[in-house]
Every structure is written in C-alpha cells, then in structure tokens.
C-alpha cells in the first residue's frame, strides 16, 4: 500500500517558512541577541540587521524611504494601527471612515469598534466579481472622510482591486488611503508610489516569512496615534523591544519574494488555471468565485451546488488534501463568509464553496491529484443531499 499523499493547498491560512528564511533567522536567536536600542556592539549589530530588514521590505513595495516601514506583530495589528491610529489622530480632518464589504475581520471589526467611539463607518458594496463599486466610493466620499481602507486583493476570492483608480478618487477629497495587502504582498508587484497608497499593511507569513510579525507602511507626514506606548521604539509608533529574529526572517522573505515574484507568479497562474479548469469542467453545477483573470496567482475559489463545504473539506482531508471553505458550517459563528455574501451569493451558494490557495511547493502533479478526486467527492455528497435534482444522481 502506498502511503497517503499529503497536499497542502491552504496557503491563505498559513504558509511554511522558506528554508532560506529560517536559515537567516537562526543567528539572531543565538549569536546576535543584542537589543537594537543598546549602544554597545551587540546592540549595534542588532540595529544593523533591523535596518537591513526594513530596507528590504521598503524595496518590496517601493516605499520612498525605509523609515516609513513600522514593524508590528502581524497584519491584524497593522490594520488596527492604520485605522485606529489615523482616525484617532486626525479627528480634525473628519470622522467618517469608508471601507468595503469584503475586508478581513481585523478591518471590519476595527471599523465597527470605532463607530462606538464617535466615528461613522461605511461598508462599500462590491460587484459579483468582488470589485469595489467605484460609483459608491465617489458617492460616499464626503469632505468629512478621514480614511478609506480597501483590501488590495481579498484572500477568499482573489479579486485584485483597481488601486490606482481607487487612490485617485480617495485623494480627490483629501482622504487617506489604507490598503490591506496581506494576501497580495509578495505575490503580485505592489508599488506604493505608482499606485498612490498612504498606508499599507504587509504580512510576513504572506511572503513565506515567520508568523507573528508584520509591518505597516506609513507615508511620511501622516500622523498616526500609536496603539502601544512604552520605550518609543519604531519612531515612537510601536513600543516594545523589536522581535529581531522574526524581523530578519521577514526581511529575507521580502527579498526572496521580490527576486522570484515574476517567474513564481507565472508558474502559480498556470497551476491556478489548470486547477480551476479541472475542478469546473467535469462537474455540472460548478462555478468560479471571483474574476477569471484579475485574481491573485494563488487563489482558486469555486462552488458546487446542492452540497456543503465542510463535508467536502472532510472528504478531501481523508485523501490528504488541505483546503478551506466559506460555508457557515466551518465558521465558529455558523455564519457564511461575509465576503461570499457580499459578491451576491445566496446562503446556500456560499455553503458549497471551496477554496484552494496554492504555494511554492505545489506541483502540477498535486493539482492533477486534486482534480482527480473532486468528481467522486461531489457525486457522493450530492447523492446524500435532498436538494440534488434527480437527473444528477443517475
């Protein structure tokens, strides 16, 4: 008997740390353990590593200077810091915050929280592909708007937003634009200057760096209130002794991502499209979520009518395949994914959703393996479901 294959296609949930990254981190746990704030050599070695990493991250997103990159504990903190920090520090510019209906929960819940503190939050609708409706943005953008926060590309459906256009609209009213690039950074080129981004959330694990570390780019001149007060690290914006091993790893990951983005992106797009085709063509009543081409290279989001996502995940897991679903049955809250509902799916359609997010180690062979499993999984579950039309069960 051959051992069961193990195929990991849930990279949006968590990525492995690149071995070159892990390698780069090790010396900063055992050899270079000084505190970057210390004057002595130990401290200065650490300081240099810290600033080198900052430079690499600035280069990944084409920031105008490295000092605009602030290290945080991850994308959730970066999103919190961007939204609360800008809102609280710039009340004189307005108290209205605009975001979209397909944001990560760390944006959604931060905006909701601010509505209990005297701010107003608007959640813009998206179209069926998941593109933010620009007319709605224009309409909702008032002189009182201080901040607009839009995801660069949502990790569940992969749709890449037209950032340049969004930025133009936002800046026509002098609001700031925060962009959550957690799912996109390292996968597609992001150019802060060219795209007109004021604040950018960058994830380390998203670029195959360690978890528990992230960054926020803040354009020079934008005032942000810190979340954490203390010793004044990170230009006073984020106190706490820097997590140097992780920061070094993050820097290395950013460097690798920048160098390898183009060939790896092209490879992933080939795998992605092969997987999408293979999941949809042989199976009736199957659909793609999101846009066919303007989507992240790693993202495959599909849905099958009449069946439920968790039971598909279990069936795949029994065959060694890891994926995810936006079904209510997989959520702690038993609510279907707000992102899938926002693109216009009905409750029962969101139920049948299945997401595969590809990564560096996935191969064509693995894609074909998943494709080979799906028809019988869907057929079996459809035979169990009372909703399946009779003719499909023949």
């Amino acid at each position: 008997m051959s051992t069961l294959k193990r195929v990991y296609m849930d990279h949006a949930a968590g990525k492995p740390v690149d071995s070159r990254v892990a390698e780069a981190m090790l010396p900063y746990m055992k050899t270079f353990y000084g505190n970057p704030s210390s004057l002595h050599q130990f401290g200065q070695e650490a300081r240099k590593a810290l600033e080198d990493a900052r430079t690499k991250i600035a280069e990944l997103v084409n920031a105008e200077r490295k000092e605009s990159i602030i290290f945080t504990s991850g994308a959730t903190e970066s999103n919190n810091m961007a939204i609360k920090g800008v809102a609280n520090r710039n009340k004189d510019r307005g108290t209205r915050i605009i975001t979209s209906s397909i944001e990560h929960m760390s944006v959604v819940n931060t905006c909701k929280f601010l509505t209990t503190k005297g701010f107003e939050a608007v959640f813009l609708p998206v179209d069926n592909y998941g593109f933010v409706k620009l007319e709605s943005l224009e309409k909702e953008l008032t002189d009182k708007t201080v901040l607009v926060s839009i995801v660069y590309a949502n990790g569940e459906i992969g749709t890449i937003q037209p950032m340049k256009e969004i930025s133009k609209i936002v800046h026509s009213k002098n609001a700031y634009l925060h962009v959550d690039a957690t799912a996109a950074c390292g996968q597609v080129p992001i150019d802060i200057k060219e795209e007109g981004i004021d604040l950018l959330t960058i994830s380390s694990n998203g670029t195959y760096g360690p978890k528990g570390i992230g960054a926020l780019y803040i354009k020079e001149g934008i005032r942000v209130e810190p979340l954490l007060h203390g010793g004044g690290q990170e230009r006073g914006l984020r106190s706490g002794t820097e997590n140097l091993p992780s920061i070094v790893g993050f820097g290395k990951a950013a460097e690798i991502a920048k160098n390898e983005m183009q060939p790896e992106g092209e490879r992933l797009i080939r795998l992605r499209d092969r997987l999408i085709d293979g999941l949809l063509k042989p199976i009736p009543y199957s659909f793609l979520n999101g846009h066919p081409t303007r989507r992240l290279p790693d993202n495959v989001s599909v849905r099958y009518s009449f069946i439920e996502g968790e039971s598909m995940l279990l069936s795949l897991d029994m065959m060694g395949v890891a994926a995810s679903s936006g079904s209510a049955c997989t959520a702690k809250t038993l609510e279907p994914s707000h992102v899938l509902l926002a693109i216009g799916l009905k409750h029962e359609e969101a139920h049948g959703s299945l997401m595969f997010t590809l990564g560096r180690q996935n191969t064509e062979e693995e894609v074909d393996y998943v494709v080979s499993l799906m028809p019988s999984i869907v057929k079996r579950l459809r035979a169990i479901s009372p909703l399946t039309p009779k003719e499909l069960n023949k």
Binding site: F306, I307, E308, E310, S311, L314, M318, S327, A328, C329, T330, K332, L334, E335, P336, H347, E348, H351, A383, I384, S385, P386, L387
Partner: protein, 129 residues
C-alpha cells in the same frame, strides 16, 4: 475535531436514500446554519420497519442522520419518539460543542416524520368512523 465514530458514519452513512412510498416524511431546516435534512419512515405493526435519510449539511449533520436512523430502526414509534439529540451525540462518542445543533436536526427530523405518520393515521381513522 471529530471522533472516529463520526468519521466512520460520515464515510459510510447507513440508511442513506429515499423511500418512495414512505408512511411518514419529516423535513427540517437548520435555523442556525441553513442546512436541510429529510427522514423517510416505513411503519409496520407500530414499528419502524424501514428508515432512510437525505441531508444537505456538514460532516456532523451527515453522521448524526446516519446514526439516528440506526438507532431508530426496528423501534416502536413511542421508543423512537424518545430518542434525543443527546442519545445521538453520545452514540457518536460526542460532538464538538459548535456542532451540537446538527444532532438536533436529526432528532427533529425523525420526530417530524413520526408525527406526520401519526397525523395521517388519525385522519384515516376519523374517515373510517
């Protein structure tokens, strides 16, 4: 997150399907997450001679449907009415807390099918009188 027993029933559900000439049918929707379960029964001498299910739902919903049909088969109607969601969950070696409502669905569908049968029979008896 699921016990082996749950996974076993999910993999090989017992009594899955429909009974075209069923004596009773119970369909319940899950108000919590929007799933659907139908149970078909065939009654002979006040006993559940046959029982089948169809379910649109998560792995635990499928496993609990399968388990309840196994528990109910051959029982008298009164005994079957006494099967609770706790019985189903216990027989499966427990369910994660967030999934307990799926076992509700199974018990409700079974009870609905029996009630449907009882009502039908009562109505038929009335006609005879």
């Amino acid at each position: 997150m699921y016990t082996e027993k749950v996974m076993e029933h999910f993999k090989n559900p017992r009594n899955m399907g429909e009974i075209p000439d069923a004596d009773g049918v119970g369909t319940v929707g899950n108000p919590v997450c929007g799933d659907l379960m139908t149970i078909y029964i065939k009654v002979k001498d006040n006993r559940l001679e046959d029982i089948k299910f169809k379910t649109f739902g998560c792995g635990s919903a499928i496993a609990t449907s399968s388990m309840i049909t196994e528990l109910a088969k051959g029982k008298t109607l009164e005994e079957a009415m006494k099967i609770t969601r706790a019985n189903v969950a216990d027989e499966l070696g427990g369910l994660p807390p967030v999934k307990m409502h799926c076992s509700n669905l199974a018990a409700d569908a079974l009870h609905a099918a029996i009630e449907y049968y009882n009502k039908k029979r009562k109505a038929a008896d009335e006609v005879k009188k």
